[in-house]
Symmetry: C2
Subunit: 342 residues, 2 copies
């Protein structure tokens, strides 16, 4: 055991990954891009192959008290394949590793896999392998997704250019509100063997948390419209953090307009109930499974024609910083918990 | 929760995987082979791309009482890349997902990653991504490896033909004996704060368990000799189980000669100490990280010329079964715990 002890919390997730992986050189000519984007990029000859891996652990990334196993399986696939869509690619293959403790029955795992199967059907993905092992405690899931993209169509986080417009799909903060709702009902019914939680009217928030949609339609629409985003990222950590990732990787700044950030009516209503700020949920909530991307300003009309996409700002020189403009015209600095510039 | 409850132990690992994955069709033309071999096979145009994933959980797959984190990182890579070598391929990219509880410090994880880095150096692998998440209990590691192989050089489990010779690299049972030794010393020193276990003379067994070697040299030697195995498998579950996998997938039988199974002197010695049967360790011990493969009998002289490879039997028609021939000429049926014919 080394003498010095630094707590992981001191570094945060981004800092930890950087510290652990900074000394890994790239040795193979086929490795076009290693860590640092939504997926790794491998040169497969005619096309690029994309590869991404995620891990979900019970008690941290999901709570089986309110997360049905079938939905969990579905969501694990959606989260995984969105990393491929975020490179403007098409996910094609999936491996799933699971670690399961003795509390799970074969029927439980069949529920999990029926959700995985359902997502594979919806998005045309092939389950091509994986691993099962026992676990001491709870359920561990690891999903790796392979996909491909034409070399001239790939979208990195690093390609945003000054004057590009910033686009976002769907609406933000709803999944986060759904999670809060589920946590509230869990607390209210703790110790009650047959709880009857009140979910009526909250269906949208719950669906955003429990059965998210992957970004396949957006990628297909952009393709049909002949648009290749200059940069793109999967919105998993919240708009603020993910926008900062694009700015950092592209060496640019941004101006986002607060009133243009799409927030659903249901999210506003729930925020009111919880005495929470819906904008904070949108900026920092995470779990949205939407795409954030930039395109040249010349494509603005085309983007407007697609539908389901909002233009929320534009890219600026790095020297002007990352700014959030409020409805009254004042400017805030766009920051995110855990995000580190270097 | 479904009404019926079937315990996972009733099915075993192979049965469980089959039950969970049997209803997954292949939808993408790029998927050449899904689950059921050492790695999935993806058509990448000129070459095949290979993809494999494994999960290792603390308390089940490793015990940190005697497994140093650096060695664990190294072994996780070796176990992962051997799946690619077992397809006669070259591993090139690696993703690593880790789940870590608060008992681990940043320095602990640096130890783990120094082992991963060391293996990446030794085998020329690029770390290209992954995920870190918190865990409630202990350490979870998931490794995915991508590699490639010329289309005419790939070795599946399914290509063994009658009269092919059965070849094995290295020696068997040593890693299993190393594990028993570590478990024995752990029990002997339980509760002792500064144990001084006696490992002198056992270095080979410990190395086989704690710092295994991947099969890169074998694959390179076969390539130089112009040999493409008709079938190949990574020896992870023990010779018996893995041989049965080749027979099942190739639709053939086998005759293995017990006295030809390579067992190291140190393994024999340790087996004597433990009053255990070294042959059982070789057949069912697992963790050997060697390759089991078949080649046409016409290649026998070439195989003998490579060195480090033993010919332990030959492939027979399925009708003659899977047989183990003892030194006195009697025949046993080759079986493996957990292995299911259908």
């Amino acid at each position: 055991m080394p003498a010095k002890r630094t707590e992981i919390a001191e570094l945060g997730e981004f800092g930890l990954i950087e510290r652990l992986t900074c000394q890994f050189p790239i040795r193979n000519a086929s490795t076009v891009l290693g860590a640092g984007d939504d997926a790794a990029v491998i040169d497969a000859g005619e096309r690029y192959l994309l590869l991404s891996s995620d891990m979900l652990l019970e008690g941290v990334n999901f709570d089986l008290v309110y997360f049905p196993l079938k939905h969990l399986g579905y969501k694990a696939v959606v989260v995984g394949i969105n990393d491929i869509y975020a490179m403007n690619g098409t996910p094609e293959q999936l491996t799933v590793c699971i670690g399961v403790s003795a509390k799970f029955s074969v029927e439980d795992l069949e529920e999990l896999y029926s959700g995985i199967r359902s997502a594979c059907e919806d998005y045309r993905i092939d389950l091509v392998g994986g691993d099962t092992t026992a676990s001491v405690n709870g359920l561990a899931i690891s999903v790796s997704v392979a996909g491909s993209v034409d070399k001239d169509k790939i979208a990195y986080r690093s390609g945003a250019r000054v004057n590009d417009i910033v686009c976002i799909t769907g609406d933000l903060g709803a999944a986060y509100m759904g999670l809060h709702l589920l946590e509230r009902e869990k607390r209210a019914f703790a110790g009650n063997d047959s709880p009857q939680p009140q979910f009526e009217g909250y269906e949208y928030l719950l669906r955003r948390q429990l059965k998210p949609t992957a970004a396949s339609d957006t990628v297909a629409s952009l393709r049909s419209a002949g648009i290749v985003p200059t940069s793109m990222i999967d919105l998993s950590d919240g708009l603020a953090s993910d926008m900062l990732q694009i700015c950092k990787n592209s060496g640019c700044g941004v101006r986002l307009y607060l009133e243009r950030i799409p927030i659903a009516r249901e999210t506003h209503k729930m925020a009111e109930e919880l005495h929470a700020d819906p904008v904070v949920a949108a900026l920092n909530g995470g779990d949205d499974n939407e795409l954030l991307f930039t395109v040249p300003v010349t494509q603005q009309a085309k983007i407007a024609g697609i539908g389901g996409i909002d233009i929320i700002g534009h890219i600026t020189p790095a020297s002007t910083g990352t700014r959030l403009v409020t409805p009254d015209g004042s400017e805030l600095s766009l920051t995110a918990p855990g995000f580190r510039e270097q």
